[in-house]
């Protein structure tokens, strides 16, 4: 139902503006905080820019200074986060697209069993299976390594399920036309199925990248070596100061830096992302 009464429109806009303000305010505070001396935070929370400009960012990034009890420069933490997020994303997408391909296009004994087993893991979030997973990773000697950080998070029922749903909509005739054109299963996968899944892959890439980037609990559990700290963990550790002052301006600057890669990914893939969620080209 589309209402066209002016009062109703004003009401709608007020609601929207309130929503935007409540979402944007924390970001605004964080941005503003980076431009103040640390002493400014002892009395109140500043809501307008201070006079430091970009110098806090420059300090953080240029001289690779470590501060508080974080022992790793944030550029290194960014690098770790990037590796982790990308490895999880690429791994997740390739594993799930292949398992969906197997489940949808091939008839083999135990096919439905395999599908339902994948599907059931949907119901168990990382937090629930974290202890057994941790034990396995320990036994495999993967603590404090990138493989330990990424591999356990790669298996994904959600992505498999989404790809399965998409593959089910691919017309049977297309598969048959390809078979008559002499394309085997591998050719069909790369020449036809992958190009058709383009938008779905983009949408899942965005979602999975953010998921991987924002991982907190898992890296916290399995890394004790500062060399493998990710930026999301790093922010938390900056707060854990026992004696001394919490350097809010640097923490806020780090937060903003940590926010940037997911934002860039979303903006870059926005068009394909929306298309992948809304419609499919057939």
């Amino acid at each position: 139902m589309v209402e066209r009464r002016p009062l109703f429109r004003i009401f709608c806009h007020v609601i929207l503006v309130l929503g935007i303000v409540s979402i944007a305010l924390p970001v605004w505070v964080a941005v503003v905080a980076t431009t103040h001396e640390n002493s400014a935070f002892s009395t109140s929370t500043p809501l307008w820019f201070g006079d430091l400009g970009f110098s806090v960012f420059r300090d953080l990034l240029s001289n690779e200074s470590t501060f508080n009890n974080s022992s790793l420069p944030i550029t290194d933490m960014l690098f770790n986060s990037m590796i982790m997020a990308l490895a999880i994303t690429v791994g997740k997408l390739s594993i799930s697209i292949m398992s969906a391909y197997a489940v949808v296009f091939f008839r083999f004994p135990g096919r439905m069993l395999a599908f339902w087993m994948i599907f059931f893991t949907l119901m168990l979030p990382v937090e629930v299976r974290i202890i057994p997973t941790f034990e396995i990773v320990t036994n495999l000697n993967m603590l404090n390594s990138f493989s330990g950080l990424t591999i356990p998070l790669i298996a994904s029922a959600t992505a498999t399920f989404l790809f399965r749903q998409f593959f089910l909509t691919v017309p049977r005739e297309l598969v048959e036309a390809a078979r008559i054109d002499g394309a085997g299963p591998i050719r069909f996968f790369f020449d036809i199925l992958l190009p058709l899944s383009r938008t779905n892959i983009a949408a899942l890439f965005v979602i999975t990248f953010i998921y991987g980037w924002n991982q907190y609990l898992w890296p916290l559990l399995i890394t004790t070596d500062a060399q493998y700290y990710t930026i999301v963990m790093g922010i938390k550790q900056m707060l854990g100061v026992t004696d001394g002052i919490i350097e809010w301006n640097k923490i806020m600057a780090t937060t903003i830096i940590a926010m940037l890669p997911p934002v860039i990914v979303v903006i870059a893939m926005q068009k394909a992302f929306v298309k992948g969620l809304v419609d499919s080209e057939k």
Binding site: P171, E173, L174, E176, A177, A178, R179, I180, D181, G182, A183, G184, R187, D191, I192, P195, L196, R198, E281, K282
Partner: protein, 368 residues
């Protein structure tokens, strides 16, 4: 150039459903064979078995003398045109046509030559760089045919290729397919449920029913001498009128009517009598039977008159008459026909009773 032979081909699904019963069919080199039948008759299954998309449960399929039962579709040297075109949506028209050739490692220059030739033949040259979604239905179907032609296959398979097109386009494409097939001389198997398509395209028509072949022959043979009640009612539109009648010693008795002729070669007893709507004539003098008009459909050139015979044992029938005849609902009209237009079928097996050579002309029809 090639022949296709089906011997004892059968298809049973794991759930026990028998889609095609032991079926034999010989397809000559360059022949256009049309498989026709109602939905569920097994015609598509049969085509898909020939294509290699469905497994053959038993029997042998040979193309050019060699058994191909266990070859992949890509290895059988066939090409198929699908009902919904099945073009690769992300590829240009050129690539759609070239894809099969590339998979067969055809040299690039050769691919280019074949695709441009086919595109010219099908008037697609302007569209080669477009994507399928920018094309109309008719153009898409031409691309699908182009994709089949460039392969220069031994056999073309068509799976109801015109069903998704509107009526006018369907007629155009039908003619184009026929011309193309003549020109290329490629053995073709064409599946349809549309009997007009079947009649016009076929060199050899195969009528299927419930997984069995009902009749094989030239279209006009099948129209003139249908082998069973099923074929008689399936081929021809509107359907042939079928009446329950009796053969008695003097002739055939239909309701209160007796068509007198020599029945010495026929079995006495129940029989089914068929007359095509176009073979009934309205007559004022000496009608064979009288009917009451119940409904009239004007088709322009023709008029379809739905009637009911008068008297007890009344039966429904259709008559096709000239489009400008004047009838009113409720009119009682007299009908007549010629002996050669009568078809007799066995009442129990529904098979044709061949009377053509051993029956003398009807001497008279009387009320009995």
């Amino acid at each position: 150039m090639s022949t296709v032979t089906l011997s004892n081909i059968a298809k049973a699904y794991p759930n026990g459903y028998q889609a095609v019963h032991k079926l034999n069919l010989d397809i000559q080199d360059g022949e256009m064979v049309v498989l026709v039948g109602p939905s569920g008759c097994g015609k598509s299954t049969l085509l898909r078995m020939i294509a290699g998309l469905e497994e053959i449960t038993s029997g042998e399929l040979t193309i050019d003398g060699s058994i191909v039962n266990h070859l992949e579709p890509g290895e059988r040297d066939i090409a198929m045109v699908f009902q919904n075109y099945a073009l690769y949506p992300h590829m240009t028209i050129y690539n759609n046509m070239a894809y099969g050739l590339r998979n067969r490692k055809t040299p690039k220059a050769e691919i280019h030559r074949l695709v441009t030739e086919a595109a010219e033949m099908l008037e697609l040259s302007e569209l080669l760089e477009r994507k399928p979604k920018e094309l109309s239905g008719g153009q898409k179907q031409r691309v699908a045919m182009g994709r089949a032609i460039v392969r220069e296959p031994k056999v073309f398979l068509f799976d109801e290729p015109l069903s998704n097109l509107d009526a006018k386009l369907r007629v155009q494409m039908r003619l184009q397919i026929k011309k193309l097939q003549r020109r290329l001389g490629t053995t073709s198997i064409y599946v349809t449920h549309d009997q007009v398509e079947a009649m016009t395209l076929a060199d050899k028509l195969v009528v299927l029913n419930k997984g069995n072949v009902e009749q094989v022959g030239r279209p006009i043979e099948i129209y003139d001498r249908p082998a069973s009640v099923f074929v008689a009612t399936f081929i021809g539109s509107p359907s042939m009128n079928i009446f329950d009648a009796n053969i008695i010693s003097q002739g055939v008795k239909l309701g209160n009517l007796l068509y007198k002729f020599n029945t010495q070669y026929l079995k006495i007893g129940g029989v089914k009598l068929g007359i095509r709507p176009e073979h009934l004539q309205v007559t004022k003098t000496n009608p064979w039977f009288e009917v009451e008009v119940e409904l009239i459909e004007a088709l322009g050139a023709d008029l379809l008159v739905y009637c009911r015979t008068t008297g007890e044992h009344s039966q429904n029938l259709v008559v096709r008459v000239d489009g400008h005849s004047q009838f009113k609902l409720g009119d009682v009209i007299g009908l007549t026909t010629k002996l050669e237009h009568l078809h007799l079928f066995d009442a129990t097996t529904s098979k044709r009773i061949h009377i053509e050579n051993n029956v003398q002309p009807i001497t008279e029809a009387i009320y009995a």
